[in-house]
């Protein structure tokens, strides 16, 4: 026991090394950033421009926000919400309906607040219902796959599979295409949500419970933290994040269709896969109890950087989707290797 040295007696360089020893995964992620960055500077035209970096973060924002929501689900040991794009789809349709028709009452047509609240409410309801079934002991994969079908179906049915258009000028432009202090609104939203999520996870009882329940459901139950309420809350958080992203995306496009988030979303294909990739690339434990939304945010930016570089190098969407797939595989392998060394395996 005498070999233990108090942390504050160490010189700065040793402390720095210790910090990264404890955070192997973070270190790997940061090194990859560095490699990407240097490669970008020397081998890619137009890489080192402010416009390009703004574009990277802007790309990262859409799936980053959803991934932050999903991180709560994954950290709490409830695996994944697989109805990500379907939740976004029905919420987007709801928002566009509100903007275009005011849900049947012409007075409300184009009312941003009502449309936004309606979309978020749909997110809350779908999150609560799916969380309820998972909390009751349902398998999250099965429950949310079922939820995915139902949500997408309702959205498509309601909108007759048509594109719902609403014309500019409208009240949601500031969120869709507006910017503030040189950064787009969606980027600001990403930054604020990332900070808020990190504070919640680190410094609130709820955040602590997410980690505890995720680390061991049975012990969580024994200490009075049941997964039932936890599942409902985390699935709701995740669904609301999806709803918000859907609103921002629809506001940008001035239109919505139920399959907006399925094919060719943004630049890298399927939304659900992209968001799950973000959580995985960030190095969060699939089994729960280990990780953070900060990692997820970095994961989002990393994926956006890779994607951006492939765009600048002239790849089209097929190879880029392969790139995202490779990143998932790579991150799972790296995580598996280092998790063994650094965490108790008993």
């Amino acid at each position: 026991m005498s070999a233990i040295i108090e942390n504050n007696q160490l010189p700065f360089s040793a402390k720095f090394l210790q910090f990264y020893k404890d955070r192997t995964l973070l270190a790997i992620l940061l090194s990859l950033f560095a490699v990407m960055f240097i490669y970008g500077i020397f081998f890619t035209e137009n890489y080192l421009t402010i416009t390009n970096f703004k574009a990277i973060i802007r790309d990262a924002a859409l799936y980053g926000i959803m991934a932050i929501g999903l991180t709560f689900v994954t950290l709490s040991g409830n695996f994944f919400l697989l109805s990500l794009k379907e939740t976004a789809s029905i919420c987007g349709v709801t928002f566009a309906m509100g903007m275009a028709t005011g849900f049947g009452s012409p007075d409300l047509a184009g009312n941003f607040l009502v449309s936004l609240l309606a979309a978020l409410a749909v997110g809350v309801v779908s999150g609560v219902i799916q969380g309820y079934f998972v909390g009751m002991g349902g398998n999250p994969i099965v429950v949310t796959l079922g939820g995915a079908g139902i949500l997408y179906g309702i959205g498509a049915w309601w909108s007759d599979n048509l594109v719902i258009n609403f014309t500019r000028p409208h009240d949601a432009e500031w969120l869709g295409t507006g910017s503030f202090l040189g950064l787009p609104s969606i980027t600001w939203s990403f930054i604020l949500i990332a900070i808020a999520a990190e504070i919640v996870l680190r410094h609130t009882n709820f955040g602590r419970k997410v980690y505890l329940v995720g680390a061991n459901k049975a012990a969580g139950k024994a200490t009075g933290h049941e997964n039932f309420s936890m599942a409902i809350i985390v699935f709701t958080i995740c669904s609301v994040c999806c709803a918000f992203v859907a609103v921002a995306f629809v506001a940008q496009m001035d239109s919505a269709q139920s399959n907006y988030f399925s094919a060719e979303f943004g630049s890298s294909g399927d939304m659900t896969i992209l968001v799950i990739a973000t959580v995985m690339v960030g190095g969060n434990s699939i089994m729960g109890g280990y990780g953070s939304t900060l990692r997820t945010s970095l994961g989002a930016i990393f994926i956006a950087m890779v994607d951006n570089m492939m765009v600048l190098q002239g790849f089209n969407s097929g190879p880029r989707i392969v790139g995202v797939g490779l990143m998932i595989v790579f991150s799972i392998i790296v995580f598996g290797l280092f998790a063994k060394g650094s965490r108790a395996q008993e």
Binding site: T204, N216, G220, A222, A344, Q345, E346
Partner: protein, 502 residues
Amino acid sequence: MSTNPILKISKVSRTFGAIQALKEANFEINEGEIMGLVGENGAGKSTLVKIISGFDPGFKGSYQINGKEVKFETPSQAEESGIAIAQQELSLIPNMSVAENIFLTGAKVKKFATLNTLAKMARPYLDEVGLTEVDPTTRINLLSVGEQHLVEVARLISREAKILILDEPTAALGEAESRRILEMVERLAANGKSIIYVSHRLDEIFKITKRITILRDGVSQGIQETKDIDVNKLVEIMLGRELANMFPSKADHISDDPKLEVKELWPDGVLEPVSFSAFKGEILGLSGQLGSGAGEVLASIAGALQSRSGSLTLNGETFLPKSPSHAIKKKIAYCSSDRKKDGLFLGRPIFENLTSPALGAISKYGFNFGSSEDNYSRNLAKEFLIDVKRMHDESGLLSGGNQQKVALGKWLSIKPDVLLVNEPTRGVDVGAKSEIYQRMRELAARGITIIFASTDIQEITYLPDRVITFYRGMMIDEHRLEQIKTPVILKEITDPFNETNL
């Protein structure tokens, strides 16, 4: 009895890191003999069994079969030499038929065999273990647990095992089923098989064995002829003499101010509703073997196990906890027997474990910026002798003893009125054991009512002020202070109704 032993082990020792699980063990068994292997928890029984069955090649000492020195690297090598083990957790596949399970490895079976062929092949083995009326095409999960044990043994016999190790085969069984197992053991021995019978149930040991090997603290205490000794003598050899000073002294007297009254509690695993009271500041022990219901009673007081009926009265309030969080609100803390399963968050730091039941106490308006949690967890750690410098380490990195201290210590954070502990020192080394006993006594002296359940006979004799004994789901008797005596309790938890006529 002067024949050469078929299996002989001499001067075997085994260390795991700093812990010496076996110091010097000798063991032998003759052909057609039933040898009992007894010892308290942690005496090295399971280590010895693992060595014999080839699971643990890392030991020192000599291992001979038929007079020839052998060295097994894997269990399958041991099996080739005719040594097979039926473990407590059965390795049968529930959805497959009896016959398929028996010939699971496929040895001796043709490439294409129908279920009928297998059934015919299985018949003689099933007859041998006494499953004459069982159809070999039945699925395993339709059989009783006792019958499943017999199938497991039939499988071992089918692979021509000559030496069978039965590790606590009756631990989870009722009376009638246990009897079938014992009958089978005797029949197999008569057919020339050698049987190593490991059990906590001393009545069974006396009933069927010819000789008994007793292990204590990793040392074998010579081989006893069963007919030459009685229960008292056996227990004395098992426990040794010098253990009493590991335990803090008991209370001078028991307060007559009932703190917790348990009325008509009736969880699964208990035959009839149970009522008792626990007094302020006492340590009450619930004694019983696995399946006796003692642990179930404890879990249902904590709301971790549903009770069909009944109520608790604590601090003038009468209620029946529906969940652990309900019990926690009423200041009832429950430390379960399996800390890895539901006692600890192994991947999370120690301080998070310590404050996990009392997040409300370390935060303001749901926010927690660390400083109050830091103080809180440090105080808890100091109180339970946990190294304060390791507070940010994952709890999974701690030794068993320290893990148990964290699992137990975390409950002080809710300032409990009643502390329930199931198996307070399972898998814990002697030093930590003693510390935990000391801590429990101090907490009781502070006025906390402690109720613990244990299968460890030393613990149940020396730690509590009062003992309630359980046997197969029934409450048997109660003893106080100096009336708590090992032989009496042993008798009550193994054979209270004189079924074996020792």
